[in-house]
């Protein structure tokens, strides 16, 4: 049957999670529950130095005094933090130099994802650090990076091998007590990635990490720290997908970026966690704190394609501390069925001549709710600060919602802040036009959505853009044929 709005709705509702599977890699898992002993045990398990243990305990004590925030435009059953296991690691955890040594089950997992390591290796210049259930199991291209003095490893390894760097920067952008989820993450983070680019070095390849959640009932608390020293450049890719299951899974990651004078960090994310089924059951809760700090003339770009999770709470932000620094935020957020996303950014202008750009594209289908929440703050010292924000929403059907909450606080008269917002709907006429040219409804929707998202897709590194485009199609794919 050709397209009607009802068909479209039906088709979107019946979309199933394509990447649903579960990998049973032998794991060692802590019993459920959280207290100071658990925090100490995590630290011990990871062989951490005392300063790190103390830092975690401090965070944990803050966390106990804090309350889960409720201001976001999302509604969900609060997780029971005592009913979560805070540590889970694959029992075989050697580092591989070679794909042949990797657990075949893991390789198979990646094959089913369509992002096999084989394939990834072929993608020229992509180094992959896979975080599987909290512990890195494979790291590639390390040697090439080492020659340039670039450090790219798990955060646990960095704590042991490069304590001076970690100690200096961890918590410097997202302090332990920043917010409820950040405090929790600081107390119990199990692993994550660390990256350091030395002065003046241009990282020769895209650094890529695939995160996955893999144990039933295991919260995932990743910690990422990227430091770009003066005049350096790095492009960092983060991509995720998780097994399909019925149980809510909590994810509370923290990502900190530090761009020192004249440095540039591009941070791209494709997020595709299990969004729950078409009844709104299950799915990942994704409460992420991502923030970057720009020193003089530095630049940080966040690009994200968010298609998964039942509930997303995420505001990649930039603190434009140094004069002439630049912050950018490019985002595509897709929600379908009963998904809820409250996402956006904060641009904090502290330095003079600082510039920020926000391009947000929200696509809502089914009965989902998609909110953009952005803060542009221009402080009194930030002469000639500039911001341009554009928030576009695309709606499919009549049951979903798109909301825009732009907050502007300008304390400097020379500031110039521009905000544009549009809302549109995929029209029957557009679909018929495509159909008439031989393009079926499913493909037509993909085409229209890709067109709508183009400004953001263009910001992704090539190979990632292709994957993201595929993901958009899958997220909105139905059973019409």
């Amino acid at each position: 049957m050709a397209y009607t709005e009802d068909d479209l709705e039906k088709e979107l509702a019946t979309k199933e999670y394509k990447y649903g599977f579960y990998t049973d890699i032998e794991s060692e898992t802590f019993p459920n529950g959280l207290n100071e002993d658990v925090v100490r045990a995590i630290s011990l398990k990871k062989g951490e130095p005392e300063w790190m243990t103390d830092w975690r305990i401090e965070a944990f004590r803050y966390w106990q005094t804090m309350e889960e925030p409720e201001w976001a435009n999302v509604h969900y059953a609060k997780p029971d933090f005592q009913n979560i296991s805070y540590y889970s690691a694959p029992s075989k955890k050697p580092k591989y130099d070679n794909l042949d040594e990797v657990d075949p089950e893991l390789l198979d997992t990646f094959k089913r994802l369509g992002i096999s390591l084989d394939e990834q290796k072929k993608l020229a210049g992509v180094a992959v650090d896979v975080v599987m259930d909290s512990v890195s199991v494979t790291t590639t291209f390390k040697k090439t990076l080492a020659e340039k003095g670039i450090i790219f490893c798990s955060i646990s390894e960095a704590i042991k091998e490069h304590p001076e760097l970690v100690k200096k920067y961890i918590g410097s952008v997202v302090p332990q007590k920043d917010n409820f989820y950040a405090a929790l993450n600081s107390a119990v983070f199990s692993d994550g990635s660390f990256c350091y680019i030395p002065k003046g070095v241009r990282c020769p390849m895209e650094l890529s990490t695939y995160f996955r959640i893999n144990q039933a009932g295991t919260g995932q608390f990743e910690r990422t720290l990227v430091v770009a020293d003066a005049g350096s450049y790095v492009s960092y890719l983060e991509g995720c997908t998780a097994p399909s299951r019925d149980e809510n899974q909590l994810h509370a990651a923290v990502v900190e970026l530090i761009a020192l004078d004249d440095a540039e960090i591009k941070y791209s994310t494709v997020q595709n966690w299990y969004p729950g089924n078409d009844q709104g059951k299950g799915g990942v809760y994704n409460f992420v704190t991502k923030r970057g700090l720009c020193e003089k003339n530095a630049k940080i770009s966040w690009t994200q394609v968010e298609t998964g999770s039942a509930v997303t709470w995420k505001y990649p932000s930039c603190i434009l501390k140094g004069d002439n620094s630049i912050g950018e935020f490019y985002s595509i957020a897709v929600t379908n069925n009963f998904q809820q996303a409250d996402t956006g950014t904060k641009m904090i202008h502290l330095g003079k001549n600082t510039k920020s750009t926000i391009i947000s594209k929200g696509i809502s289908a089914g009965q989902s709710q998609n909110s953009y929440r952005g803060l542009v703050q221009i402080n009194s010292r930030a002469d000639n600060a500039r911001n341009f924000s554009q928030c576009d929403s695309l709606l499919m059907g009549n049951k979903c919602g798109a909301h825009t909450f732009p907050y502007i606080e300008a304390k400097n008269k020379t500031a110039r802040v521009e905000h544009e917002a549009t809302t549109s709907k995929i029209g029957e006429d557009q679909i018929f036009y495509c159909n008439q040219r031989g393009i079926d409804t499913e493909k037509a929707i993909a085409l229209i959505v890709n067109g709508f998202s183009k400004e953001v897709l263009n910001k992704l590194p090539m190979e990632f853009a292709v994957e993201a485009q595929k993901l958009l199609e899958i997220s909105l794919e139905g059973s019409v044929g």
């Binding site: 049957m1 050709a2 397209y3 009607t4 029209g427 029957e428 006429d429 557009q430 018929f432 036009y433 495509c434 159909n435 008439q436 040219r437 031989g438 393009i439 079926d440 409804t441 493909k443 085409l447 229209i448 890709n450 067109g451 709508f452 998202s453 183009k454 400004e455």
Partner: protein, 250 residues
């Protein structure tokens, strides 16, 4: 090629097409004229398979098979093309990307592989030259910000790329300046052959000086009330539709 038999169609409770009969053979050009709101665009939409309209009676045969049960894209795959009276905008999708997708989806439906990029480029070059289209134009978003005439020219460009068996041109001439009208008509004429057919819907005799029809039909209130040769168009231009209507009631 196309045979429309006693076609009745409408929307909700409103009958728009009230018993249309039309036979178009390969190699022929038919013109359909008629007053505003008489059902010309509705007829082309129904032939192209727009679901919004309900067919309440009659049949449409394409190459001797009923196409009533086919989706719009399946009809397109069979070689039916409609140049829209009001082409729609698709922001962010370039003309090139759109036509590439259209061609490859049509090929896929026929069990063929994607057209090799080099062939595609060659074809784009040829057809854009034929229609005197600046290639920079092809990287713009489909119909977004196009002038009326540019939209129509772009429709014919797509037709040239898709090489349909049956092309229905719904008021392709309106909005075209004199030069564009000549260029577009030349384009259409170059694509004519003994194996394909064209239906032109127009209000103006001038287009028919360029694309010379074998038959002219007059559609009034959902019915074809008069058919004739190309001279009928001249007569209409001279006497207006009241003449036909008067003849009807006489």
């Amino acid at each position: 090629m196309l045979e429309i038999k006693n076609l009745n169609a409408g929307i909700e409770d409103k009958d728009i097409l009230k018993g249309i009969d039309l036979k178009v053979k390969a190699g022929e050009v038919h013109a359909i004229m008629g007053p505003n709101g008489s059902g010309k665009s509705t007829l082309s939409s129904v032939v192209a398979g727009k679901e919004e309209y309900e067919v309440t009676g009659g049949d449409i045969l394409f190459e001797n098979e009923s196409i009533l049960e086919l989706d719009a894209e399946e009809r397109a795959h069979k070689g039916i093309f409609l140049s829209f009276q009001y082409p729609v905008e698709i922001p962010g999708v370039s003309v090139t990307n759109f036509i590439k997708t259209a061609i490859n989806e049509t090929r896929k439906a026929k069990g063929l592989k994607d057209m090799p990029a080099s062939d595609m480029l060659k074809m784009i070059r040829e057809k854009s030259e034929l229609l005197e289209i600046d290639r920079k134009f092809l990287s713009r978003s489909l119909n977004e910000g196009f002038s009326g005439g540019e939209k129509k020219r772009n429709e014919i460009f797509q037709m040239a790329m898709l090489e349909p068996k049956l092309a229905i041109l719904d008021e392709t001439d309106s909005g075209l300046d004199i030069d564009a009208l000549r260029i577009v008509s030349n384009g259409v004429n170059k694509l004519r052959s003994k194996d394909n057919a064209v239906i032109v819907i127009t209000h103006y005799q001038r287009l028919l000086e360029y694309i010379v029809p074998d038959f002219v039909h007059v559609l009034v209130d959902g019915k074809i009330v008069k058919s004739g040769g190309k001279e009928l168009a001249l007569e209409l231009e001279e006497k207006g539709y009241d003449w036909v209507k008067a003849e009807l009631t006489a």
